[in-house]
Each structure stands twice: as C-alpha cells, then as structure tokens.
C-alpha cells in the first residue's frame, strides 16, 4: 500500500509536538519499532524547529509544509519553509555549526537528522526558503519481508 499526506502548520513552537505526533501517527500505519518511531519524531522536531527559529526567525504567522509518503518499507519525508534560506548549505550541515550560538544543543540538528535518516537532501536559497527531502528505510520492515 502506498499512502501520502500533506500537512501545513503555523510557525509556532507549540506545533513542534503536534507535528511529531502527526507524522508519527501516519507512519504508525507501517507498524515500525518504537526506536524507528522515536527517530522519525526527533527528525521532525529538528527540522520543524529549524524552520521556526532559523527560517522564520520566530515570527509566528508563517507556514511550514510537511509531506509524508509511505512506500512498502521506506518513508519519505519532506519539510519545507519559505523563510530566509541557507546561504552555505555545506557549512550549515557541519556538526556543531550554528548561526545562533546562544541556543541549546547548538549546531547538531543536521547531524542528528543525517544520523537517523538514510538520505537527506537540502534545497535552499536565500529569501526563498528551505526544503529538506529525507528518506528512511524501515529495517524492521525489511527483516519481516526477508522472513517470509
């Protein structure tokens, strides 16, 4: 079964928790392990938080778009904002790099996302916004297929 959802939320930090559960509930249709669910939810948190605090500089009335596509054993997740964009993506993806050193866990968002997902593409341009296109293979799903 292939399934797809599209969700738009406002750029307020209260919605981070909502976005985590919305994506989590959607991918629960594939019955992943708790570990995989936690990983995906963490990725959603990091990406949504980046859109809120970096992309939209904490302005509340902007939109963040989340698309999630379920394939047989793969999850595709696209999180996009129309915020300020990233000038140097390679630099931004470096572990510990942050443009806001005053924040907690500074500079590890991209690293965490890359660690939990099997592929991460970032498309961004100044003043146009940032789109994160990510994929994760559910290994729990894979081993189940292999059993049969």
């Amino acid at each position: 079964m292939k399934n797809e959802m599209y969700l738009e939320i406002m750029s307020i930090s209260e919605n981070e928790s909502f976005a985590r559960v919305a994506v989590g509930a959607f991918i629960s249709q594939l019955d992943p392990t708790m570990e995989e669910l936690t990983e995906i939810k963490t990725v959603v948190s990091e990406a949504v938080t980046n859109s809120v605090i970096h992309g939209y500089q904490n302005e509340p009335s902007h939109k963040i778009a989340i698309t999630c596509i379920l394939h047989e054993e793969e999850i595709e997740l696209i999180i996009a904002d129309k915020g300020i964009g990233i000038e140097n993506i390679n630099e931004a993806r470096q572990p510990l790099y942050t443009s806001k050193p005053e924040l907690e866990r500074s500079g590890m968002g991209f690293t965490i996302i890359e660690n939990f997902m099997d592929s991460v593409e970032v498309v961004s341009s100044k003043e146009k916004g940032t789109t994160m296109h990510m994929k994760k293979i559910l290994t729990s799903k894979k081993s189940k297929v292999a059993y049969k």
Binding site: S17, F18, R20, V21, G24, A25, S28, Q29, D31, P32, T33, M34, E35, E36, L37, T38, S140
Partner: protein, 77 residues
C-alpha cells in the same frame, strides 16, 4: 519470555502497535480513575500530567489502543 520482552523494550525494537496499546490501556485506567475522583470527564492535560506523556501522545496512544493495527496482533495476542 519476560527476559526477552524486557530486552525488546530496552533496545527499542518493540513494535509501535504493542507499545502504544500498553500506553492506551494505562490512559483508559487513568481516565476512569480521574473521572471518579473529579466527578466529570478529566481534561487531556490532567491525564498527560498524571502519566508523564505529552497531550498529543495521549491522543495517539488512545487511538492505537482501540484499533487492531495488524493481523499479527489480532491473531497472536
């Protein structure tokens, strides 16, 4: 079996369907308990605070507890 279950739980490889269902059962108990205590339906924050879950997670777990998520589960549990 207890050992194996604990192991599964610890390394996170337990299936979402099962884990949420357990949380869902806890929520149902807490809901009954608080309904009796307050004499009205508890709010979602009251349940969430009591169980240390987010209110959004409460909604997800409550739903999971009522729908069989896979044939495996309905047959084997």
């Amino acid at each position: 079996i207890g050992e194996i279950q604990r192991f599964l739980r610890d390394d996170g490889s337990v299936k979402v369907s099962r884990s949420l269902k357990e949380a869902g059962n806890k929520i149902r108990k807490k809901k009954d308990e608080l309904t009796k205590k307050y004499g009205r339906s508890p709010t979602i924050n009251e349940i969430a605070d009591n169980l240390g879950l987010s209110r959004e997670e409460i909604v997800h777990a409550e739903e999971a507890a009522k729908t069989p998520q896979s044939i495996h589960e309905t047959v084997f549990e």
